[in-house]
């Protein structure tokens, strides 16, 4: 029933418009019932969007090809899991998901924070609503998922590279991240509009920002693994514009998560934090625009569409209005405190922020350069991998080092003597690691060697912090060492969760350096019975088989793998020919060594009719550390995200102390 879907979206548009107008009027005129009514409208908008989402999901599951969207993105033969994932596989469905998550986050953020931040919430609602108006308008007037047509016998199916289990998790996580950044943005502008740029908007949104940042981070890692196992080019990150689209807001949010601590602890960097939040949100809009507009050439550009100008207009409006509000409230954003010493933690943080921002803006320049060069010179010039790799080293390596330095420097001021004492062990570990690696031959890649050395430094500082902290907790009366460790985490989840996240970045850096700076590649055309060598591996091409599965024909070459005299078993690599979609995909063969984290990666580039196969083979040292880093990242984020009842009580108590009325 597409009419119900259309009507539900129309209701959402009406509710969002009401929440924007009535919310702004209620907040400006100080009308309590009007403001409450606007809050209710935002919450109701979530439920009406949920109805629309339900209609689309039902149409997908029923293979109702009278829905143009369903016919364009699925087919009868498509397995159920991928049929569900078609919800966000196309433009209209993904915009609906954006709106659903947006209204859901808006409703939840309003409900959860109105106990102690009601004076902010009244202004947060119209900001949320303004974003919801834009997306619901797009869905109603420009890109409706409920357009209908005479039903064809079968749908066009799904792009083969999307037919992967990661399709069920990677896009939704990215959307949770993109949309999640609306929460800090709405609270930031709400606080400015309310004239209350104190620390409450930061506290209200800290976990939301962390959640969005975690979702973006995990989403990107899943996407990288997806590219690694599915796309079949031998890597996991290609600096593709759409990949960069997710990385940019993540970097801006990373900078914000660090600089926000300075404002909370020292009351500094208020303007900077506000600008970072606006940048992160604008980049999340830009990311959605890049993904969906088809304005740049990308492996992710499945469709060209007409929503580009709408998005650009909205991004320009968002940036313009936000900056005007910041300028208006500039006198209230002055910091009440000053930097006491250049040797202090708050002095170290801006370096981290500048490096993150420099990396972010460098990537942004790389993404928009082809569009700008085409507009100016009539020829799209694409900045290649070497451009991004260069700046990743220039900004990324100092960032890695700062990750170890920052946590060991005291707030406010630190003496030089104290720094020498604190840093002697981590420095010793780093220097020894560098020397040992140099002797072992890691000097073949200087950036790789530097990355390992810095990683050792950071790892040592993290271990030191945990060891000292646990020992102190034990001395303070913990029953056992595990109890002391738990107590350490529980009493300052944000700090020690942050260290675990830092550990994940160290593991990630080692994985990236190992797999990119020290990898090997070999290529050969083999007939059955022939073999090839790479490093100390030997691959013998044994057989070629063809089998028909649910929606594709699989062709697989089987290779026997050995290392020295040791047989390691067989590996399959080949191609899938998708029947409905009439497309072919590479299906790579990967053998992972659980002890060393190394992968043997085989691509069957070309399969000839005589049965000979052109193979491209990689050996990627330490590449599995990248995926392990993902798990550690999630653990660290969960520790930092875990709700802190004491903090909530303190905030409610503070609100009560100044006499703000209880929630109604």
């Amino acid at each position: 029933m597409p009419e119900l879907g259309r009507a539900a979206l129309l209701v959402t548009l009406g509710l969002a418009t009401y929440a924007l107008v009535a919310g702004a009027a209620g907040a400006h005129l100080g009308r309590r019932r009007l403001a409450l009514s606007a809050q209710n409208a935002l919450i109701a908008a979530f439920f009406s969007t949920l109805v629309a989402a339900g209609v689309l999901l039902a149409a997908l599951l029923r293979h109702d090809f009278s829905f143009t969207y369903v016919a364009r993105t699925t087919s009868e033969a498509l397995p159920t899991g991928y049929t569900i994932s078609a919800f966000w596989g196309g433009q209209e469905g993904s915009l609906l998901l954006w709106l659903l998550v947006l209204t859901g986050f808006g409703a939840a953020a309003v409900r959860l924070n109105r106990g102690w931040a009601r004076d902010l919430i009244v202004w947060v609602v119209p900001v949320f609503a303004a974003v919801a108006v834009f997306f619901s308008f797009l869905l109603v007037a420009v890109a409706s998922p409920f357009a209908t047509q005479p039903a064809p016998a079968d749908g066009a199916g799904m792009t083969p590279s999307l037919q992967n289990p990661y399709m069920l998790a990677h896009p939704p996580l990215l959307y949770l991240g993109y949309v999640g950044l609306t929460v800090p943005f709405a609270f930031c502008l709400g606080a400015l509009l309310a004239g209350r740029p104190d620390e409450r908007w930061l506290v209200a949104t800290r976990r939301w920002t962390l959640f969005a940042w975690t979702a973006l981070g995990v989403g990107q890692l899943l996407g990288a693994h997806w590219a690694y196992v599915e796309v079949g080019w031998g890597g996991y990150y290609a600096w593709d514009p759409v990949e960069n689209a997710a990385l940019m807001p993540w970097l801006a949010a990373t900078a914000f998560l660090h600089s926000v601590m300075i404002q909370e602890k020292r009351g500094m960097l208020r303007v900077w934090n506000v600008l970072l939040v606006i940048l992160a949100f604008s980049l999340s809009l830009f990311g959605t625009f890049l993904t969906r507009s088809g304005v740049v050439n990308s492996i992710h550009s499945f469709t060209q569409s007409s929503i580009g100008p709408w998005f650009l207009g909205f991004i320009a409006l968002t940036v313009g209005v936000s900056l005007a509000i910041v300028f208006w409230r500039l006198p209230q954003l002055r910091s009440p405190t000053k930097l006491e010493s250049p040797i202090s933690r708050e002095a170290a943080f801006p370096y981290n922020n500048l490096l993150l921002l420099a990396l972010c803006l460098t990537i942004l320049w790389g993404v928009v350069y082809p569009v700008l060069s085409e507009a100016v010179r009539g020829e799209a010039v694409v900045l290649g991998r070497s451009y991004y790799d260069f700046f990743l080293r220039i900004f990324g390596l100092p960032l890695l080092l700062l990750m170890g330095i920052g946590p060991l420097v005291a707030w406010r001021r630190a003496s030089f003597r104290s720094l020498v004492t604190t840093f002697r062990w981590p420095t010793l570990v780093a220097v020894l690691t560098g020397l040992v690696l140099l002797v072992l031959g890691a000097g073949s890649s200087v950036p790789g060697l530097v990355a390992y050395t810095f990683a050792a430094f950071v790892a040592a500082t993290i271990v030191l912090e945990f060891a000292r902290g646990t020992r102190a907790r034990k001395a303070l009366g913990a029953d056992s060492w595990p109890g002391a460790f738990y107590s350490l985490l529980a009493r300052n989840r944000r700090r020690y969760g942050g260290y675990v996240v830092h550990a994940s970045i160290v593991i990630l850096a080692v994985g990236i350096a190992g797999s990119s700076a020290f990898d090997s590649v070999a290529e050969a055309r083999l007939a059955r019975g022939e073999s090839m060598r790479i490093d100390d591996y030997t691959l013998l091409y044994r057989s070629l088989d063809e089998r028909v599965v649910e929606n594709a024909t699989e062709i697989r070459a089987t290779l026997a793998v050995s290392r020295g005299d040791r047989e390691l078993g067989t590996l399959e690599a080949g191609k899938n020919a998708y029947t409905v979609e009439q497309q072919v995909s590479n299906e790579v063969g990967i053998r992972s060594d659980p002890l060393t984290g190394e992968d043997l990666f085989v691509i069957a580039e070309q399969i000839d009719p005589d049965g000979s196969v052109y193979f491209r083979v990689f050996v990627k040292p330490l590449v599995n550390l990248i995926w392990i880093a993902g798990f550690v990242f999630v653990v660290g984020s969960l520790i930092a995200l875990w709700p802190d009842a004491r903090e909530q009580r303190r905030l409610v108590e503070r609100t009560r102390e100044i006499g703000l009325p209880a929630t109604r």
């Binding site: 009507a7 009308r31 707030w411 406010r412 020992r471």
Partner: protein, 116 residues
């Protein structure tokens, strides 16, 4: 089509009721104005933030000193100003004097947690 339209109409009606709920519940409220913080309340809020910030910083400093991350020398330099900051905020927040007492000043000559 009819069922879809009925469901759509039902959805619209429910949403209108939800939106109108604050007016239905309180057709003639005693007060319909949002609570705005006055100057004194704002100042108290800022003092409370300063107090909490200073106490949290003190707690972290004590722990970092205990772990050895902060040396004795740095601890002695840092602990005094933090204690003074917390004590100033606490004194200014004393209920009997709230609103009457002048807001104490920091070393920079700015009101502690003064207007932002």
């Amino acid at each position: 089509l009819t069922l879809a339209l009925v469901l759509a109409a039902l959805l619209a009606v429910v949403c209108v009721v939800v939106v109108a709920l604050p007016f239905i519940r309180e057709p003639e409220p005693e007060s319909d104005t949002l609570h705005e913080l006055d100057e004194d309340e704002r100042r108290r809020l800022e003092l409370l933030e300063t107090r909490d910030r200073a106490l949290a910083a003190l707690k972290e400093l004590e722990f970092d000193h205990r772990t050895g991350t902060i040396s004795d020398e740095d601890y002695r330099t840092l602990v005094g100003p933090l204690r003074r900051e917390a004590a100033n905020a606490l004194r200014a927040l004393e209920p009997s004097r709230a609103g009457k007492r002048a807001v104490p000043e920091t070393r920079e000559g700015r009101p502690t947690g003064g207007r932002i």
